[in-house]
Amino acid sequence: MRYPRWFWPAASLPGVAWLALFFVLPLYAILAIALGSVDPLLQTVRPAWNPLDWDTAAFDFVFEGLLGGGGFQKVFVRTFAYVAVALVLTLLIAYPVAYFVARHGGRWKGLLLAGLVAPFFISYLMRMLSWINLLQEDGWVNDALAWLHLVDEPINWLDGRASSVVLGLVYGYVPFMILPLYAFLDRVDPRLLEAARDLGASPAEAFRMVTLPLSVPAVLAGTVIVALPMFGDYYTPDLLSGSPNTSMIGNQVNLYIRGGQQVPVGAALVCVLMVVLLVLMLYYLVATARVARRAGQA
């Protein structure tokens, strides 16, 4: 017996239908609302489902603010700066940790891995809450700094500081960078490194000339995994700063979508953000598909 031709498409149908209805259609709704209008009397959004009715007023507004040096430009530049600094710090922390556990974990590997996986079971918001506790004016961070004589007066770390927001982003997303790096570094064939040593390389040279170049795709994948949620973050600045001076793209989206009167502007902002991130998203999907294909052939 063989499976009838319709069998596999039929098995996929419920899942595909679900995603079409609750993933693809909503994405189109963002576009239709960004290109729609707001009812002047009822203040409700009127989406333009038909491309013939599209009205670019909201996009015009966003691009004006973005290119004309207005508020949006400031927020976009700030978001890119925060994400860039946070990504560099994340990578500087994640790579050595992943490398050590993968190559030198030895009999402690299981325990170390449990430590690396633990943050996945602790809600991101609780992890931010614990920093809110620590960074209060009478909190333990100030106590420690005073004890070390680094500060004379307790500092309010939560009153709109870029450093607190970046710390939150790094703390929040490091685990997501460590695991893909670990998964890759754990699979590097030790014989390649032995060969490099036999040919006269020092351990540092073997790392620089073999491990590091091999790990570039894993570094890129980890960077994308971490960068995507960072670009859509609004809660980290809200919780660790709360000031408009550290507002990111996500905060602006939040403001317009919930604000009521200018929902199309919020939707247009989401569209612009999506276009910016599309390169990252497609890179990741193509890279994963390649790995899956290779696994299928093996």
Partner: protein
Amino acid sequence: MSRGSAWRRPWGLALFTLAYLAWSIVPILVAIRFSFNEGRSRSTAQGWSTRWYWGDPDLSVWHDPTLYQALLQSLRLAAIAIAVAVPLGVALAVGLTRWRGRGAGTSRFVSLFPLVTPELVMGVSLFLVFTSLLTFVELGTVAQAVGHVTFSISFVVIIVRGRLLSIGKDYEEAAMDLGASPVQALRMALLPLLTPAILASAIVVFAISMDDFVISQYLSAGSGTDTVPVRIYANARGAPTPALNALASLTLAVTLALAAALFLVWRTARSRQGVRGAAVEDLAGFETS
């Protein structure tokens, strides 16, 4: 030349890793410590009590409905996400892996796209579609459940698909050669082989559903349907008492206990099939996929 002399133990790296783990975990322990405070401070140690768990007649987690309702809502959504997303995702993974022909490529692409879509985009898009087109779905538990299922499906697909690719088609074909119908072959040959992957995907769905904040917040209908992360967000800056820490700690304990239970079931199913190696490592692999 022995390995030991060729590769010195990197003590610097070991120290760095330990420092990272301490930095990662100590703040959580501190937050748990403050949940047992006797006083109202959430930033200094003030004795020990269970006042904020159940002692306080108004403000403790046990007595404040906005707090314990949040935990129940989080658990409710996680249960629905597992119950709906796992079957949908397994069928989708099996179908997409075997289906060749028109529409298969697009479907495969769509099934993985939610993995890389920022939560903010999904949250906004579902919020807008439920408030302007599919208005029969009211904001609240149903809308939130739809959101949780939607972002969970892709994780199930990618985990089950990985296992399917390594199993191959031989077992089903052997079953059918022995007289099984296609459905029997699926049920009796393939499904048992997939059980560990299915359980692993249930763990991951549980973890990401409990952790979700953006979608739960965008689709919440007000404090009655707030989940724990939404409540933490709402109260974190203003909350006057450690009851919020108690709620977060309690949620963490419940999450870890349930995840550990699922983990044990999964490990048993896995070793019954003769898969060896550290189970933690495999789970770490799934979390990244």
